[in-house]
């Protein structure tokens, strides 16, 4: 409790800086879920220097696209493109066309030549078409062969790309005749599209509204629950603590220019639940201690309660933080934003439960019922 003013000041500064940054500078960096746009995850057969990639995109007027490297080695990228602000009313088709342009410009000349010759791209071919290629020479095994090759290509090891035909011989034991046929009828395209998402602007705006609403309703729901189980003042203190967590997290997102997408919102709502968890455990102690330690003043009761629950708070936060860290480091690119948000959230949530929630409760009580004493 003795650090309460320091903690207030610290949080106050972070929140103010965050809000100032959000309102006056670039604001929040909404991902395509909320702003509308196209996301394409592409894997190349050979490393594609990120500078070249950016250059190719600038050439078609999409130089402001965000490029994110997946894993090291410059072979896989996530490209996010958005239409300029004045075009937000455009239909989804505009985004789709833009996505097609991105894919088209990244193709290599060899790809275009081969496909003009009528060859099929083995790195993007569908099972049916591949079966069709095998049909004449291997009528009995056509489907089996096609399935084997496609499954191999789509396995977690290959990640959607066959690097050279020798792989098929060594790992799948495909017969030389079949390989010859593939050489004749297909080529290994230089890239494979692993994920493609397009969100129209209409949906984006709506999602933003719905996400805000859901967060607010969740906060109200919790306020009511705590109001019933505890007292109104506790509910208010808990909700203010949560608002504190959400504001700091959003502020950090704005400062670090990290993207806000759907999983991030899910993470923020989870933090809300999680941070509350900590706060409630402390409040629960306060509730008990008010009955047991009647002689102490309210501030000391708060202090005692925090200390009594401290080891639990630290252990639980520690275990959660460890699991979320596992997700952050090993969970892969798609879940990375989520894991990052959870990591900050768990830390902030714990900090706020220990340093903020009780202080807020104390101030609230001092302001609104100073005479009744601090007990009941």
């Amino acid at each position: 409790m003795k650090y309460k003013f320091f903690a207030f000041a610290l949080s106050g500064i972070i929140i103010t800086v965050g809000i100032v940054n959000i309102t006056t500078k670039k604001g929040l960096n909404y991902g395509i879920d909320f702003a509308g746009g196209t996301l394409i995850q592409i894997r190349f057969i050979n490393p594609f220097p990120i500078a070249d990639l950016r250059q190719s995109l600038s050439n078609i007027g999409l130089g402001n696209s965000k490029i994110q490297e997946v894993e090291k080695g410059q072979r896989e990228f996530i490209i996010r493109t958005m239409l300029p602000e004045e075009d937000v009313d455009q239909e989804l088709e505009a985004h789709v066309i833009m996505g097609n342009k991105v894919v088209e410009t990244l193709k290599k000349d060899e790809d275009r030549l081969a496909s003009e010759k009528g060859l099929k791209d083995l790195n993007n071919i569908e099972k049916n078409q591949l079966t069709y290629i095998f049909q004449t020479s291997f009528p009995d095994k056509a489907e089996e062969l096609a399935e084997k090759i496609i499954d191999f290509r789509e396995s977690a090891e290959q990640k959607g790309i066959i690097e050279n035909l020798n792989q098929l011989t060594t790992e799948l034991e495909i017969s030389p005749e079949a390989i010859e046929l593939l050489k004749e009828k297909t080529y290994l395209g230089s890239m494979s599209i692993k994920r493609r998402e397009t969100v129209g602007p209409q949906v984006g705006h709506e999602l933003r509204r719905k996400a805000t609403q859901a967060t607010i309703w969740a906060l109200i729901g919790m306020l009511i629950y705590i109001g019933i189980r505890f007292k109104f003042a506790y509910g208010v203190a808990a909700i203010l603590t949560l608002a504190h967590d959400v504001l700091i997290t959003m502020g950090l997102f704005s400062l670090t220019n990290r993207e806000i997408n759907l999983p991030v919102i899910a993470a923020i709502m989870t933090i809300v639940g999680y941070s509350l968890n900590d706060t409630i455990v402390i409040f629960d102690r306060v509730r008990d201690n008010i009955k047991i330690l009647r002689k102490l003043d309210f501030e000391s009761i708060l202090d005692t309660s925090i200390n009594q629950t401290l080891s639990r708070t630290v252990i639980t936060s520690g275990t959660t933080l460890l699991t979320v860290a596992a997700l952050y480091f090993f969970g892969g690119e798609v879940i990375n934003d989520f894991a990052f948000t959870m990591m900050i959230g768990v830390i902030i949530g714990t900090y706020s439960s220990i340093y903020q929630s009780c202080s807020i409760l104390l101030f609230w009580k001092k302001i609104f019922n100073p005479k009744k004493g601090m007990g009941k």
Binding site: L92, E93, V96, E126, K127, R153, E154, S155, A156, Q158, K159, G160, K194, R195, R196, E197, V199, G200, V203, Q213, A214, W217, A218, G221, M222, Y225, I226, R229, L262, P263, I265, A266, M269, T270, V272, G273, Y274, L276, N277, D278, I280, V281, D284, D288, T309, R312, I315, T316, T319, L322, T323, V324, L327, F330, G331, G332, V334, I335, A339, M342
Partner: protein, 517 residues
């Protein structure tokens, strides 16, 4: 006490057996979300205004017919430009106002009408408006389902967003050619046969030369599909004796020049109508129109009853796809895509692998920590944790909830948070022990005092998860579901199962000096 313990043990064993039965083998029993198995997620909007527009057009035709029948003269009928579902009859013969009133009451009950001077303005009643919009969404869902079935895709999901929404969510796992599927779903596929009055002409003025520059009331101008005709403008009758609704079947075939074409057969009733129509119009040019674009114009050479061929310079794929959508039926309104996400199977496989290894790492870290910090009691928590994950899996399988990547994150988070309930209990027990209470009473009061805390703390997280579920789309819903189930299960395992383990181990020895915690 002992008997009580036995029953509790049986109950726990039964629950574990049940969830294992439900979830084993997990590769069969647990459904994966699109983000893990690959596939296509589409959100489309039914432009219900179209359905209202069509209805309005039909009503205008009907009004014209009735006025002609009753011999009432009028200047014209104009359709409301800005608002959907409105039209106005202008300058009717004022002497026949009584007859008009009668007509309105008898035939136009679904419309509000107001007579001002010699004009009547019609506006669709709001319940009819709602009914038509709702109907068009339901019909669109039905049509889309038919088309997807024709494509031979399995495990599909077609769902309306909200009870009264105009949006449809379509989830198609394992789609190989997303662009083709999108094209097929989007085609309105409204097929009509109409007589051609003039055309083709390069522009509208030339087309209307013989008609005094104005489109006659019973005709309309349509464009030729540039891919299948010479293009240009045609003047056609605005009444279609036969439409796609009269089709019984449509298939790709090859015509006499060996190029792909579409053969169709009509329903018996449609066939009769077509026979009558072709008999009356032999020698006249007839057009086949798909989604307001003329596909083919040919002179009626003989009477046609129930089958025919559409030629139209199709490719094999086009002929296949068009006959597919004709078989599956037309959409009642146009649709547009609002959101589309395609995930390749290799990304899904990668996500599963990374997700599983993060779960494993998380579990190992937690187990090591609990065993180190709480010693023997830590093992108790470990057992509770494993049960927790099992119950989570069983519940996922039972509710047929799909496991998504955020869902895996939910599991990992649950693992982190589930320990919390154990920690709360153990810390309480340690406290009670340090106050000098006996082992068994420490355990008893530790559990009972921690329970209230556990309940309050977890209910709030569940509240957050419920709101998240209600707001979120596919993957996020998966996260909310695993979180809700996981937390609920953690309350059960931490409070009930782990208590039972304590009690069992205490009952074995009569007197126990020390509790390893």
């Amino acid at each position: 006490m002992k008997k009580n313990l036995r029953w509790k043990t049986i109950l726990v064993v039964f629950i574990i057996a049940l969830v294992v039965f439900l979830a084993y083998p997990p590769s069969d029993k647990i459904q994966l979300g699109l983000d893990l198995k690959g596939g296509m997620h589409l959100v489309l909007q039914v432009v219900t205004d179209d359905a209202l527009n069509q209805e309005t057009n039909q009503e205008i035709l009907r009004l014209r017919e009735q006025l002609k029948k009753k011999d009432i003269e009028y200047r014209t009928i104009v359709k409301g430009e800005e608002k959907i579902g409105r039209f106005t009859l202008l300058e009717f013969d004022s002497e026949k106002e009584g007859q008009i009133k009668e007509l309105l009451d008898d035939y136009f009950k679904e419309w509000n009408h107001t007579i001002i001077g010699t004009s009547v303005s019609f506006s669709m009643k709001s319940d009819v408006d709602h009914y038509l919009r709702n109907l068009s969404v339901l019909q669109a869902m039905e049509t889309i389902r038919n088309r997807v079935d024709e494509l031979g895709l399995s495990e599909i999901l077609i769902q309306r967003q909200g009870m009264t929404g105009e949006r449809i969510i379509v989830e198609l796992p394992g789609v190989e050619d997303p662009e083709r599927v999108k094209g097929i779903l989007k085609t309105t596929a409204f097929l009509e046969w109409k007589l051609v009055k003039a055309g083709p002409a390069p522009d509208q003025e030339t087309l209307l030369q013989d008609f005094g520059g104005k489109v006659p009331e019973d005709m309309e101008i349509l464009k030729g599909d540039p891919k299948r005709t010479e293009g240009g403008y045609y003047l056609v009758s605005n009444v279609a004796p036969i439409t796609g609704k009269d089709l019984r079947n449509a298939r790709r075939t090859t015509d006499e020049w060996n190029s792909p074409a579409i053969s169709f057969t009509l329903t018996p009733e449609g066939g009769k109508r077509f026979y009558k129509f072709t008999s009356e119009n032999i020698g006249k040019p007839l057009s086949i129109i798909l989604d307001n674009r003329i596909q083919q114009v040919a002179n009626i050479e003989s009477r046609i009853s129930d089958s025919g061929i559409i030629h139209g310079r199709f490719t094999v794929e086009e002929a296949d796809d068009i006959s597919l959508v004709l078989r599956a039926g037309a959409l009642p309104a146009t649709i547009k895509y609002l959101e589309e996400r395609t995930i390749g199977p290799s990304l899904g496989a990668d996500s599963i692998r990374k997700g599983l290894s993060s779960i494993l790492i998380a579990v190992i870290i937690i187990l090591a920590f609990m065993a180190f910090y709480y010693k023997l009691a830590g093992f108790n928590a470990i057992i509770a944790l494993i049960f927790n994950v099992l119950i989570l899996m069983g519940a996922l399988a039972y509710f047929k909830a799909s496991l998504t990547l955020p869902g895996i994150a939910g599991i990992i988070l649950t693992i982190g948070m589930a320990v919390d309930a154990n920690v709360l209990v153990f810390e309480r027990i340690r406290e009670e022990l340090s106050h000098g209470k006996s082992i068994s009473s420490s355990i008893a009061s530790g559990f009972s005092r921690a329970f209230k805390t556990i309940l309050d703390a977890n209910v709030t997280t569940i509240i957050a998860a419920i709101f998240l579920f209600q707001f979120g789309t596919g993957p996020i819903k998966g996260f909310a579901v695993t979180l809700i189930i996981g937390i609920t299960a953690s309350m059960f395992t931490a409070v009930f199962v782990s208590r039972l383990i304590f009690d069992l181990s205490l009952s074995k020895r009569k007197k126990r000096e020390k509790l390893s915690i």
